[in-house]
Every structure is written in structure tokens, then in C-alpha cells.
Symmetry: C2
Subunit: 334 residues, 2 copies
Amino acid sequence: MQNRQITIAELPTGTLGPEHFTLGETAKPEPKKGEVLLRVILMSIDAANRSWMKGATYRAAVQAGDPMPTYAICEVIDANGTHLSNGDIVAAEATWSEYVTAKARKVQPMPKVATLSHLMSVYGIAGKTAFHGLMSIGNPMAGETVLVSAAAGSVGGYVGQIAKALGCRVVGIAGGPDKCKWVVDELGFDACVDYREAGLSRALAVACPDGADIYFDNVGGKVLESSLNVMNEKGRVICCGAISQYDTENPTGPRNLPGVIVVKRLKMEGFIVMDFAHNDAKCVRAMQHWVGTGQIKVIEDIVDGLENAPKALIGLLNGDNKGKRLVRVAADPT
Amino acid sequence: MQNRQITIAELPTGTLGPEHFTLGETAKPEPKKGEVLLRVILMSIDAANRSWMKGATYRAAVQAGDPMPTYAICEVIDANGTHLSNGDIVAAEATWSEYVTAKARKVQPMPKVATLSHLMSVYGIAGKTAFHGLMSIGNPMAGETVLVSAAAGSVGGYVGQIAKALGCRVVGIAGGPDKCKWVVDELGFDACVDYREAGLSRALAVACPDGADIYFDNVGGKVLESSLNVMNEKGRVICCGAISQYDTENPTGPRNLPGVIVVKRLKMEGFIVMDFAHNDAKCVRAMQHWVGTGQIKVIEDIVDGLENAPKALIGLLNGDNKGKRLVRVAADPT
């Protein structure tokens, strides 16, 4: 039996394109002792995929010829004598493949939920990243203004919805009038600024008449620079990602830094969602509460078919998603 | 009686030069009700003087025609019926002048010390800035590596000496072999890297074989960028100043930011010494202890004569001082 798999044809030096990937077939892998065979159901598509192709992140760099690593929701189809059972749903470090093997002790059994995609959106890495960054680093307070970039993205959409639930004024930054409208109308942000329009700094000042107390940065670059200018004294800048910087060989730093950090006594702090794994249960409980009250809408953007994974990632880097982007490789088991 | 005073001839648009200042004479000012007349004894020369000429800091911008503001140690020579007495030594917001008036309730009475300059170096703004930034933001621990830029400067020299007293490994960054040698030989740093030499990032990696846990940034720019590359995970970057960025119209941002902040989970935080005034007594007590044990040397660089204040500031921006730079306007009262 065959296993379709997408490998990296060559590492990009500039903008990522379809030519950097190859769809091929290999034999279905055989689990070794202590390993299980998994059917990949849903793959998480993240800006981080692109940064792994640049090396120098919190995980080993990927190389040409490697299958693209991914975080995935999978079904155990051969428990192979381990503590797991066939039919178990698990989260695992997988690759862009139909089938993968994994060490049984490394996979994370998932609770039974009606819709598996929720495990990767509101109760998964997107929701957790939003919750942990905002709560643990931002320390938001009702009445404060929270500014969020990539507001229509998987993380940004939850950051804004959580902040609204906590009583903050929430201003998004997104690309294009469509997304900005969606962020306000669908997600309930108080305002959303289109970073593609001229005069970003001025637009931010208008959208944040009392300044911003928290900026949740998913993008870096010029948007970060402009956002720093509207921060209030003692503001908190949560560094979650730098999507504008991953797909380029010419990154630019915020030119107002470090001066603006000193003068306004800002705190900028980076984090990785796994740093706060000890608080995951608290996060899921809170998110379930807000989903129940209707204060948080689940936002997902699911692309069908393994073969569409490269397109899904390239599109994500161009900002064409609304909400958490996933690729469906197989249907939820019935 | 006349009052010599230095005013700003015109605001600089590029590099600061002597042509931006005018030495003139005005009438000695008359204190109004509630004000006292002060004789300026010692003026603090700080990179901040230059940033005030750019506007947009924690105090109002200075304008052409204004006397240059300064923090100064002064003697009360006309208490004018206020709660102060003639002969009191006070710290005050003054200007580059021989005599100034000030609201009696705004000046800060100073303790009796044998050498007034110590009130502006080890027990003054330089020592306090070093202590509060390092302790309150950096949270240093014995065995950690502390990296400090402008290590031969007023603040950097104390940062390194305090960190050594706490059991840290201390690496300085300074300009030129002379200063680097002085920082190691006189101040007891473990190593000092010359930022004027090529290959700064590599030199920092060699000087910090275990990476850096704390970076106390006095300079910004390329030194900040290179320093971020040697930070350890969960490192703390204390943003105290951006001297490399004040005297230019073309500031550059660290190009590795925010990516490096996310990946290494760094915290960058800015502060102003006044934010920690509630801890000043604690600071002075600690500094007195370390001066007593010989673990901290008092480092001062005093330029004589009000007329030399512009030269003293221009030189400071070019990095020609070792230790806290002061201008002596009058002798200590006997």
C-alpha cells in the first residue's frame, strides 16, 4: 500500500513557491517496536513551517529531500502492542503524508470531541497560543486597549475575542478591506486597520484614541514599528511571530527601537506556546466557557487534500486565510 | 551681577557640533515667591541631553534659544524665606548656567558628603540607573553572564561592577583598545569586546562561551543587534539608552527582531531611573556597602568650566569619557 507524501524539493532563498515542493509516493511506513502507525487526518498549516525552512528556530532546520514536518491530528491504525489502541485520536509531530509512524510515548491522546478540527483551532495550538501569550505576558485588564496584528489569522482572531471577553477595547490590523470588515463584523473587534493602506501610523493613532496598552505582534517589520509608536507608557508587546520576516532575505528592524522602549518603558517579550503547557488545562477550560457563552466564535479555514498543502502554506504567507488554516488529509473517522 | 549661560543656537539635524551652542550672559535671575536662588556646582552630562534636542522623550523637547536643561548639584545662596537654608546642597533641574532659580519644593536636599561629585556618580543618577535597571529588570543570579555596552561609560561601569559583586561573569563592550583594557584592568570585568573592530558577533560569541543571560543596552543599533544573537533562552535585555541612535537622522533597527525574541523567548524592557525612586534608599545602601568593601570603584570624568559643557557633551556622544561625565561650574563649598 502506498503513502502519498510531500517533500521539500529545494530550500527557498527568497519567496516560497510551489516549485519548492514535490508530491511523491513511498511505501506505507512500518512501525518499529514502541511505535504506532498513524493515519493523518488534519495538518496544522503555520507560518512557522516557513521559518523551519530558514533554520535557527526552536527546532532543527528542515533540509531538501525531507518531508515537511507538521503538527497533526491522527488516528491510530496500528497500535503495535503499545499502550494505545486502534482508533485512538492523537496529536503528533507528523509530516505532510497520509501515514506516519511515531513513538507511542511521544504522541498526545486527544479527548473525544464532535469535530476534530476544534482540537487544532479553538482548543488547539491557535487558541492556546492566543490565550497563553495574551494572559501570561500581556496581563490584560478591562478598559485597556489591545492591538493585534494578523487579526484575521488563526491566533490574532482569538487574541481579540479573548480580550473583548475580558472587557478590553480591541483594535485589529489586517490586510485588505474584506478581512478588516470580517474582523469587525464577525469577530466583534472595535476597529480594524488595513496595513496595506498608506499612513499606517496615523490610522493606528485614529483607531487607538487612548493609545494601546498591549500589542500582540504576529508579523514584525513595519507593522511592529508603527505599532510601537501608539503604545502607552508601560505597554506590553507580546512577540508571537514575525510572519512578514520569514519569507524574505532582507528583514528590516523597527527603526524606532530601542529608543521607544526606553522612553515609554515598554516590555517586549517572546514566547512559544509549549512554554506554557502547564497551563493548557486552564486555557481549554476558559475557552470552553467563552465558546459556551458565544463570546468566542470558532474560526477555521480548512483546505481539502494533502496535495494542496503547499498552496495552503504559500497562501497563508500571503495572508489569504481567515482563521486557523488546516489541511484535511482524511475524513474524521465515524 | 552677571550670569553666564549656554543656550541652544539651533537644533541639530545631524551630528551635534559646537556651532549648535552659544555662550552668553544674562542678568542673575531673581527668585520669585516660593523659589530659591541656586549656584550651580556640578552638571550631569548625559546622552539624554542630546535626545532632548530631538523631542519625543519623557520630557518636553528643548528649542533653539533655550538654555540646555541639566540635572545639577547646587548650593542654595538665597533661600528667599522658603523651608531651605542658605548653604544647603540640593539636586535640581537646572540649566547650563552659573545661577538658576527653582521652586523650593521641587529641589531635592542632598545629604552631607565629603565629595559632592559622588552624589552624581556612584550615589547619583549613574549608580542608580545601573542598580535599578540591572536589579529590577535583569534579576541577575550568580553564575549568569551579564553583557554590558558602553562599559566604560558612567552607567555601564557600575552595571558591570555590581554584577561582579553578585557573582556573575561580566563581559563589557566598549570603543577602542584603551577603554577595553581599562574596563578589564580597572573595573574588573572578565572580558571586554571592542565594537569598533570587525566581526562583533563573533567576538561576542568568543567572549561569552556560555551565551549571555542579561544584556544591559546603553547604545542600541548594531551593537544591540549583535548582542541579541548571543543571548540565551529566557534572556533579559535591559533597554537603558540608545546613544548610537541619538546623534543621527538615520536610525537602524535590529534586523533580527522580533524573530530572535520569539525563538529565544527574550524579554526586552525599558526603564527610566525615576521609575524606581521608591527604591533609591535601598540602592544607595547597597552601593555604600560595595564601595566600602572595595568591590565598586567610583568612576568619574570631570570637565572643568561651564564654557566646556558643549565640548563635554559632544565628546560623550563620541564616547571619549571613562566613567560618569560631569562639568564643574563652581568649586565645592568649603
